[in-house]
Structures are given as C-alpha cells and as structure tokens.
Symmetry: C2
Subunit: 206 residues, 2 copies
Amino acid sequence: MLELYYGIGTCAVASHIALEEAGAQYKAHRVDMKANQQNSPEYLAINPKGRVPALVTDQGVLTETPAILAYIAQIFPKANLAPLSDPFAFGQVQAFNSYLCSGVHISHSHGGRGARWATEDSSLQDMKRKVPENMRAGIAMIEQNMLRGPWVMGDAYTVCDPYLFTVGTWAKGDGVDLDAFPKVAAHRERMKQRPAVQRVMDQQKA
Amino acid sequence: MLELYYGIGTCAVASHIALEEAGAQYKAHRVDMKANQQNSPEYLAINPKGRVPALVTDQGVLTETPAILAYIAQIFPKANLAPLSDPFAFGQVQAFNSYLCSGVHISHSHGGRGARWATEDSSLQDMKRKVPENMRAGIAMIEQNMLRGPWVMGDAYTVCDPYLFTVGTWAKGDGVDLDAFPKVAAHRERMKQRPAVQRVMDQQKA
C-alpha cells in the first residue's frame, strides 16, 4: 500500500489531493514540521533530503512533488489525471508543475525559509519584503499564460490542478490578493467544490 | 523540426545534450544572455517567462528542463533515455531532475541572480557567500544518496546524466571542488568521453 508523508500547509497537499482523486488506497502520515520532525533520523531514513512529500511505494520511496504527481497519474490511468499517451501534452503538464516547484514555490520559501540561502537577519528581512512582488508575478504568469480554464490544462482535470490549488493556498499569507487574478481565483473556488479536495482539507484541519 | 533556444553555460546544455544523444533533427538558437536577449519581445513571444531552455515543437513550445528532458526521452524511445514503461523508475528519473531544478540550480542562482529574491547589496553579498556551502550540500546529497554509477540511475544512461553534467559545470565557479566527490567527478569524466557531450561543448565554445 502507498504511504504519503506530508506536512500541514506544505506542497505535499498536492500529492495528497491527487491520491484522493485517483481513488488510491494509501496511508497518510503527518510529519510535524514545527517540531522539525522532517530532520529526525527516522524521517531522514525515508527521505534523506529532510523534506515532504515522500511517497513510499512497494518499489521504494519517491520524492519531489512533480515526480510524485506524474507517478500517481501513471499508476492510476483510469483516473485520467494526465495526458499519458501524448508526449507534448504530458510535457505541458510537467512544465507547469516544474514552474510551480522551481519558480513559485521558491518565491514563497524566501518568506519563511530564507535562512537556506542567506545568514544575516537584514538579508532575511529583505527577502521577506520581496515575497509579495515575486508571488504576484508568478501568479500573474499563470493567470495570463498558463491557466486555460476551467482547469489548468483546459477541459481535462490533471495533476496540475491540485498543485496550483496548493500553491494558491499560500497567496494570502504571502501578501497577494487572489481577487486580482480572476481566472486563478475561479479555479480555486472550483477546486473547493471537489470532494477529494474537501477530504484532504478536512484532514489538514484534524 | 525541433528548435532549441539555449544560453551559454545555462541549464539548457542538458536539453541540448539530450537532443544529440537522441539523434534528433533540430536547430539550436543561441540566446545572448549577456545582452538580456531572453527578455526581448521576440524571445518573450516564445517563452513569456524569459528563461532558457525553450523547445519549439510542431505542437507548440515546451519550457522547463525536466519537462523538456522527459519529452525528448518520450519522442525518441529508441534512444532509451528514460525507463518509460516503468512508472516507479521513471518517477526516480523525474525526482532526480526535479531536485536539480528546484534545489541545486536554485542554490547556484543565488550567486549571480540573487536580485530575483532580494534588493539590498548586503543581501546579495550574503547570498553569494552561502553559495559554496549550499552547492556542496547538494552535490554531497547526490554523491551519497542518488548517483548509483556508472550513470545516475545505474547501468542505464538516462536524461538525468546530461542534467547532472550541466549542473556540475557550475561547481568550480561556485567554490566547490568536485575532487571531494569521487562518484560525481568520475561521472563527469565519463560524460566528457561521450561524442554527444563533446559536440555540444564544442558548440558552446563556438
């Protein structure tokens, strides 16, 4: 059985929703990020990078959100979570997810995790001040050039959708008003109506 | 015909090598990063994100290195550049490439592109000072937990290999001596023997 390691409010929410959408049998294990459990010896034995998500499978452990999302789409093909038989369309799914992980997520991380990249308090404050601008630019790029509607890739719901929803959850705390981005905001409301999303959000609160 | 937009010394080298390994018919267009050509109206019409690589296909434009690498592997299956029929093994390829794009590449970018995330000169200097430590940690993670040898995924050469080679090219300039990482250093020498790599490195110099 699949086992997902996740942290509250992290990008692991995307993989969690994808598992629910796929109708997967899985166990979810919460990693207590506030207690730095992701760097405990027990968790580092699962993911030596000390990050969530990690997906334990019968064949071994997978990490990194874009990899886990594509894997879930591939092993549950009946759920139609990615255009698996069309390399270009699949490439677009991957490009979107890669932009979120190496672009928008990194912009977000400079708010709370700036110490990864600088040491002095003045630098960390400087980084924090720039977060709203960078998050706004990333969401504007999605609004103007990526999100086709009703779902990210158009008529078909894919693994891009829970990932965008997850990143959008950070917007308000990062000083971005999603009302300025009507397509992204409407996508968010559409996502909240999905039972899979509701089940995961309930688990996040529990 | 495929058309690759690349910049000298950028992560686009990985996609360039993959195209050569695949025996693809393609045109390569150099984007003059020093002249900020990636932000010219002409290039932004190709990739509104203003980054390289971009791969123009008959179906449209693909961006983001992990997406382009998987696409090349998929459309040239005879080149055996990824374990396409094994979702878990393919997921491992993707996880490796995702770690490079959202981890090691980001560490590198804080040396020369710190202004993306902070404004004050003291912050940019602080970020630059931390680059060697972060690059060393990323390469140590690859050395200890990822690179199986002789290739990243073991006996099979995959699209992970040109990507690791490309990121390794940055190590010296980022203050990291690869001699401290014997598996990564040996992988690098092995890569330099490949004709596809030599052809791309010659084009980079030209």
